[in-house]
């Protein structure tokens, strides 16, 4: 082609003037990622819960190998810790609402409360595990023990990670790094936290309450 000055097929447009290119859906990248991740987590906990259901009443071929997890449940105690975790969801949503208004102090208050409630839940879980162990159900004792400790342990690790994130957010707010512009990070941690809570809603009903 002799013509030396052919315009490129995709030349400059007004899009190149845009400071921050909007996303195709108008939604935030990290929020899409979080929701996709939570969708994936559903299958993770689905596998764990199904395995527990399958294994909880398996007849044991080794005689005298310890009690089944379900015979050791202390429903009043677990109800209280479930209630604590449920309330932490409320304080989390209040933290998100506070940061959206730009109220740093209120945000920190609710973040700290949420983390404290989460820590209470974890402490309750540690206590529960200790009691089970004393009553003769260790991790390797029988199949219902393995399945129960793995399921609740996985959930506990998730809560613990959430507490670490909340503490980090609290620190960032204290240090003045949590501005209104990146208030989204509180919302994202909130999504994670609520998810951990609803997983417990399912575990509490399916594992503990349904006979």
């Amino acid at each position: 082609m002799a013509d030396t000055t052919v315009a490129p097929a995709y030349g400059p447009t007004e899009w190149d003037e845009v400071e921050h290119m909007p996303t195709s859906t108008g939604l935030s990248n990290v929020k899409i990622t979080m929701w996709a991740f939570l969708g994936s987590e559903c299958l993770l906990f689905g596998s764990l819960i199904s395995t527990y259901l399958l294994d909880r009443n398996k007849p044991d071929l080794i005689p005298g190998s310890g009690p089944k997890a379900s015979t050791l449940f202390d429903i009043p105690f677990t109800s209280v810790s479930s209630f604590v975790l449920l309330m932490s969801s409320m304080t989390m949503v209040l933290a998100v609402s506070a940061i959206a208004r730009g109220n740093q102090e209120r945000t920190r208050l609710w973040l700290a409360t949420t983390a404290a409630l989460g820590a209470t839940f974890i402490a309750g879980q540690v206590y529960e595990f200790t009691v089970f162990y004393r009553e003769g159900l260790g991790y390797t004792t029988n199949i219902s023990g393995s399945a129960f400790f793995t399921l609740t342990g996985f959930h506990g690790i998730h809560v613990t990670l959430g507490i670490v994130m909340l503490a980090t957010l609290w620190y960032l707010s204290k240090a003045g790094h949590l501005t209104r512009e990146n208030a989204e990070s509180v919302e994202i941690v909130g999504l994670y936290w609520h998810f951990v809570d609803i997983v417990w809603v399912v575990i509490f009903t399916v594992v503990y309450l349904i006979p």
Partner: protein, 114 residues
């Protein structure tokens, strides 16, 4: 795979050159609204726990499952803002949630669990 929802959406962007606004902060309930929801959920939990003390007979299990779904739905819809937020988030999450249900119930069925 949430095709219909997304197919329509990118075109909206063409009209506006502004960066994406922060969603989810400017709508939703008031703080008091959230507290009311939480109190309601606490009540539901109390009913759930009561099955341990009171014998509901054969309706206990279905009742517990319904109450669980109610709690789950309220937290997801209100606390996690899915009710107010873009439907794409709902679709992403539901894909995983319903997928898990649709896969693991057959797994339990093949083991003749029910």
């Amino acid at each position: 795979m949430n095709t219909e929802a997304v197919a329509a959406s990118p075109e909206d962007v063409n009209t506006a050159g502004s960066p994406a606004e922060d969603h989810g902060s400017d709508h939703g309930y008031s703080d008091w609204g959230y507290i009311k929801i939480a109190l309601f959920l606490a009540l539901v939990t109390a009913i759930e726990v009561s099955t341990y003390f009171i014998d509901f007979g054969s309706i206990a299990t279905p009742m517990l499952i319904v109450l669980m779904i109610v709690k789950f739905a309220f937290v997801v819809a209100v606390f996690m803002h899915l009710k107010f937020d873009n439907p794409m988030f709902t679709k992403l999450f539901m894909l995983g949630l319903l997928g898990a249900v649709a896969i693991f119930i057959p797994v339990l069925l093949t083991f003749e669990y029910f």
